[in-house]
Each structure stands twice: as structure tokens, then as C-alpha cells.
Amino acid sequence: MMLLVTSGVAPYLAQAESILDVGDTFIVPLLLKLAFVLGIFFVGPLVAGYLEHKAMGRMQHRRGPVEAGPFGTLQLVADGIKFIQKEDLIPSAADKWVFAMAPGVALVPAMLALLVIPFGPGVFALDLELGLFYVLAASSVSVLGVLMGGWSSANKFSLFGGLRAGGQLIAYELPLILAAIAVAVQAGTLSLVGIVEAQAEFMLFGTGINLWYVIPQLLGFGIFFVAALAELSRPPFDMPIGDSELVFGYMTEYSGIKYAMYMLTEYAGMVTMSALMVVLYLGGWQLLPGVPLPGCEAAGGLFDCGVTGTLLGVGVMLGKILLLVFVMVWLRVAYPRLREDQLQRIAWLVMVPLALLNLALVTIAKVVY
């Protein structure tokens, strides 16, 4: 939260005006932004989790949750309440402080990453000039929490899980960042809002056809998606959890609210990463390439929209996020898990070279045109 407080004076201050910056006072926008980020942080994972439950259920010839709330929509709320009620066990051999802190260390960065992600025209807490850099940096801190949990549990399975998670992060952070850099190079900015803007202005070489970055950087998008999956430990890269090998990986010894925090981290990570992909590659809150949102035709179709335009923009953004979340769920349903060494091999022998190639191509294209 310090970033937020200091943002008014720091040199990397907001580029675009957030609609949450109402009035002249300092405290009202601050509270609004806090509420906004926390709201996204708690509601987003619930929606993503519900989508996962339902989509997975239907793909597996089941119904998914049906009892809690209409169509089972409150299932995750019920789960949350259950977790809070459960006994919070700490193994006697555990390193108690580290064990207790680990879920928090995993959780907070996932929340912080949401600070700079724009969810619609002007709907963001902060537009950092270094937004992209900040998101990637913040989200990679989460793995510390995982490592701490794995180490402090005093359980061999947890330790394996934690170490696997560490190895996985190091291996996949690189292609992730390289792919993201390519986007930054093409857009010419690190600001996430700026990248969305740049996508609205990007024309296919010399023609008047507006395109999102997913087309010119299809390779980069693929790399980013796979790397994001690996970083989130989502199947088929869920070796840190690997429930049929490592019982439950680094979460084996966790129960109750701490376990719920880990789960929340995972789903919040899914939302954050999906949102990031939408911003970087899928044109943010634009409905279609080159088609301005209704109500905001004036400012390049991206800002200063009316109420409808804003709501529509947010809706489009959330729709795209959920679509990506759905794809992640789909992969989980369809595939078995890879092996740790195979994962490393893919990272270093395939992903990193491809990401470098992608970066080189984008740079050359940028220079030539």
C-alpha cells in the first residue's frame, strides 16, 4: 500500500486519469482504490473458482456445485466459511513462525499485482509508468511464500513441493519476462494502460487494419500463456502440488484458513495473469480491434467514456479474463501432469530460445517499420 500512498509524489506517477480519482481530497480516492483492489481480489477468485468448478464438472459429465446458492454459485463462499471454522493445525516439528507467515507472503504479492492492472476505460487504481515491470516483479514474490511453506512444514513431501515450485519459477520467469518485453518493445511503453492504447493504434504494417498484439506476437502469446501456467502451478504444470505424487506438495500440512489463503493466492494468480494477458495481447477492454466502445468514440475509443461505455469496457475485459481462465481450466481437465525434469527441459530448451527469437523478430520489425 505504500506505493499507493507515495504515488502522488513519486516520479513514476500516474499517466492516465483513473475514474476513481474523484474530488480533490487525498483520502477519498485512496479508499475507493483500496476498495476496488480488494473487491477484485476477493471476488475475482470466487468467480474464477466457480467457473472452474462448473466447467470442470460439465466437462467431466458432472454438474459441479448445485446446492449452495442458486446453481451452486455460493459454493466457494461456503467453502471459505468451512475453512475458517476448521482447526488450524501446525505440525509440532514445523518452524512455527515461517509456517504461519508463509501463506501471507504468498497472498499479499498476488494482491499487490492487481494495483496497476486496468479493468476498463479509466478503471484502475494506478497507472504506473513501470506497470508491466511492477506486475511481474510483484507476482513472482509469491513463490517465496510457497518455498517458505514447503520448507517450514517439516514434511518431506512439502519440501519437495516447495523446491519444485522454486525451480519452476526460476525456469519460467525468464520466458515470461522475455515474452512480455517483446510486447513492451512493440508498444514502446511499460505502462499497462499505455500498452492497451498502443494496441488500439497498432496498424498492420502499412495498412489501415487495426490489430491486437496477439496476431503479430502469436508466438509470444503462446509462450506467455504456458509460462504463466507453469508459474501458477496450474495443470499440466502442477508438480509442486502433484497430489498423486506428493500428497499435496507444499500445502500438505496446511489446513483451515491458511490453506484457504494458498488457494486464494492460486485463483487470484489466475485472474491476475489472465488480466495481464488480456492487457498485453488481447486489446484490453476493446470489444473488437478498431471498433471504439460506444460512448467513447471521442478519445480514440478508449477513454472518457460515458457510463455505458465504461460498464461495457469492464464487461468486455472481465469476459476476456474469464475466457482465459476457462482455457486454463480446460487444459487442467484434458491433460495429465508433466514430469519435473520434462518441465525444466521444455523451459530451457524450448521456451527460452523461442522467447528470444520472438523478441528478436519483434525488435527487428519495430526497427524496420
Binding site: Q60, K156, D243, S244, R332, A334, P336, R337, R339
Partner: protein
């Protein structure tokens, strides 16, 4: 290392699981210690109370020692105090996924000892239900093996099919796992009306859904990556360890009592034995999946063969087997099941020795797991198909 060395080494060790000691290795500059990891007795990968002690160097294991016996229920001894009617309720429980086949083996053994001629109709119906039981069993293992590799979905599909089949079997036998449908001399009661029609229908339904498993699991590249070349079991080792069923067919030996030593009426129909090439986990799974298809083929053939007539014959009030001993082996879903039945002329077996396929199959685990990674250990464990109750009995 030859398999003989392997076995001697294995036998020379102390009691399994008790010699867990920390060994120091390395050249003395950087001291590392092997870690011993106890997988089980309650672990998701062992589906049952089965334990494996792995000596690990990082993620790579050096030795693996299976520890069995957590589920010993003393069926062989219990059977000595149950009469020939009651033992059927015992034998369908040691391998709870192959209840019907176990009953069948027992019935055949008792009938052989009594030199009892079972009516044709009963024999065909026994075959029909035994094949259905095989499909049930294999579906379960397809689901659980995929689950072991982290794919959750095939399990649900398999259970959907299982539900249809269990419904079918329930309508005839009244049971879903423990059928208790065989008796000495035939079957308890004839099939209900409409059973064969429903059986035909379920058979074509399951057959129409089989491609899903081929597409979802067998053809998947990640699945290939996890199973091809993992845990190969050469033919000689397989033979000397006494494994059977898909585990033996995977190295390429088409050994199957249904073909090589036909019992019931298997001699009158075509039975195909799918075999693999390398004997690795992939081949074992491949054989398993194809065995479902073969069983469905057999089922379809049986439908055309069932003659009218009685399904059981008149028995004396007290069934007593004459003095003597006999051995019967049949192809259980997981491999060869043998019953050694010895009678002293009384109303209970004097000795009922079970040679269960799971027990023999897990003998291959120390060989297969040597030097494997932890994830591969799971993959191997799942591919040597076993039921813990069938190991411990």
C-alpha cells in the same frame, strides 16, 4: 544385474522397511545424505494401504521396497472354517474389483474336485458376467492410472461407464461389487428377463465411448512422455517374477489361460490377446485398454451362444468335496488367479490357497523402481495394476 541377483539381494535384506538407514555418499567434500521417503501406507498414489519405502537422492530413487500386509484379513484361514456355500462370500472380497472372477475360480475348483458337470447355460452366463466384471475392473484402472499421472477426467468417464455396467450386473446378481452369484454347480438363479437385451445395449454403449479413452489418454503426447520407456520389464524378468495379466502381456507374451488353457467355453469363441512390445508403462496401459475392447468382443459373441436350459443342478443338501486336491487357474482381470483347493472330505475346504495376480505383480516393483524419479515411481506403481486386498488377502 540379472533377475536372480536381484531377488537374492532382495531376500537377503532385513525385513522390508526396517533397514532404513542414512547412508553417506559423495566424495567427502560436500556431504549429502540419502533421504528415505515412505510412500504410504496411506498415500494417494497407492490406492489402498500399501507402502513403498524409497531411498532418494534428490528426486531420484535408489531402492524401492514395497511393504505389504497392512490389509491381511486371513481369507485363506477363514475359508477353512466356512462351508462350500459360504466361501463364495469370502473369495469375492479379496480382489474387490473382480468379485465375479474370484467366485468363478472357486466354483471351478470345487466342481473340479467333485467332478461336477455344470450345465452349458450356466457356463455361458458365467463367461458373460466374468467378461463384464473384467470390463468393470479395467475401467477402474484406466481411471486410476490417469489420475496417478494427474489427469482427473478419465476417472469420471470410467465411472460413468462403470455405473451402467454395475446397474446391469445388479439386475442379475443383486450386488455391485460382491456379486455372490456363483454357487457350486452353477448359478444361484437364472438371469432376469431382458438382461441379454440390456447387456447388448450396454456393450454397444461402452464400445461407442471407448474412443474417448484412446483420444484422451492413450494418444496424448504428455501421456506418452510420462509412460513411454518408463519402467520397462524385460520378458525374462517378467517370467521369473511370475507376473501375469497386462503386466506380462506388455513385454509381448500372449499368455492368457482363456486362450492357452481354455476353461468354461472359451475354447468355442475367439479371444484375442493384445500384447505390447517394450513392456514399459505405456505398453501395460495399452494392453489394459485393449483388453476392454477384447472383452466387449467376447461379450458380443457370448450373446449369440447362450443356450436355453437350467443354470444349476441338483446338489446334495450338504455339499462335501471328496478327499483330494486340485488346482484351478483362470484369467482374472489383473492376471492369473489360481486356487489350490484341498479337501479332507468334510464340508469345508481343508486348505484353500490363493495365488493372486496382484501379489505376483507387485514382486516386480523393486526391480522396476530402481533408480527412478519420484514422479516415475508413481507412474510405475500405477501401471503394475494391483488391488491391495488381492496382495494381502
Amino acid at each position: 544385474m540379472s533377475d536372480l541377483d536381484l531377488r537374492q539381494e532382495f531376500l537377503a535384506g532385513t525385513a522390508p522397511g526396517e533397514d532404513i538407514a542414512v547412508q553417506l555418499s559423495g566424495d567427502g567434500q560436500f556431504r549429502t545424505a540419502d533421504m528415505s521417503l515412505s510412500i504410504g501406507p496411506a498415500h494417494p498414489a497407492t490406492h489402498g494401504v500399501f507402502r513403498i519405502v524409497l531411498d532418494l537422492d534428490g528426486e531420484r530413487g535408489r531402492e524401492a521396497r514395497p511393504v505389504i500386509g497392512y490389509m491381511h484379513r486371513g481369507f485363506e484361514k477363514l475359508a477353512e472354517h466356512r462351508d462350500f456355500r459360504q466361501i463364495f462370500a469370502l473369495v469375492n472380497r479379496h480382489d474387490w474389483l473382480s468379485g465375479f472372477s474370484n467366485e468363478l475360480g472357486t466354483a471351478l475348483a470345487v466342481e473340479k474336485l467333485m467332478e461336477f458337470e455344470v450345465p452349458d447355460r450356466a457356463q455361458w452366463i458365467r463367461m458373460l458376467l466374468a467378461e463384464w466384471n473384467r470390463v468393470l475392473n479395467h475401467l477402474m484402472f484406466i481411471g486410476s492410472y490417469a489420475l496417478e499421472l494427474g489427469a482427473i477426467t478419465p476417472m469420471f468417464y470410467a465411472f460413468r461407464e462403470r455405473e451402467d455396467i454395475q446397474h446391469l450386473l445388479e439386475s442379475a446378481t443383486g450386488g455391485r461389487l460382491h456379486f455372490t452369484y456363483n454357487q457350486v454347480g452353477g448359478l444361484k438363479i437364472d438371469l432376469p428377463k431382458g438382461f441379454l437385451a440390456e447387456s447388448t445395449q450396454v456393450s454397444s454403449l461402452v464400445r461407442s465411448r471407448l474412443p474417448d479413452y484412446f483420444d484422451l489418454v492413450l494418444g496424448n503426447e504428455i501421456f506418452h512422455g510420462r509412460t513411454k520407456g518408463v519402467g520397462p520389464l524385460p520378458m525374462e524378468v517378467a517370467l521369473s517374477l511370475g507376473v501375469s495379466g497386462p503386466t506380462l502381456q506388455a513385454p509381448g507374451l500372449p499368455e492368457d489361460p482363456r486362450v492357452t488353457e481354455p476353461y468354461l467355453k472359451y475354447g468355442e469363441i475367439d479371444v484375442e490377446v493384445p500384447v505390447g512390445e517394450n513392456g514399459d508403462a505405456f505398453d501395460r496401459f495399452y494392453c489394459l485398454l485393449h483388453r476392454i475392447r477384447v472383452s466387449l468382443d467376447i461379450i458380443d459373441q457370448i450373446h449369440d451362444h447362450i443356450p436355453p436350459g437350467p443354470v444349476n443342478s441338483k446338489l446334495p443338501k450338504m455339499v462335501k468335496a471328496p478327499e483330494g486336491a486340485t488346482y484351478v487357474r483362470i484369467e482374472n482381470p489383473l492376471g492369473q488367479l489360481g486356487y489350490w483347493l484341498e479337501s479332507d472330505g468334510g464340508r469345508t475346504p481343508w486348505r484353500l490357497k490363493m495365488r493372486t495376480p496382484s501379489f505376483s505383480n507387485v514382486q516386480a516393483i523393486p526391480y522396476l523402481m530402481r533408480g527412478q524419479l519420484i514422479p516415475d515411481a508413481g507412474s510405475i506403481l500405477g501401471s503394475v495394476f494391483f488391488v491391495v486386498g488381492d496382495i494381502d488377502r
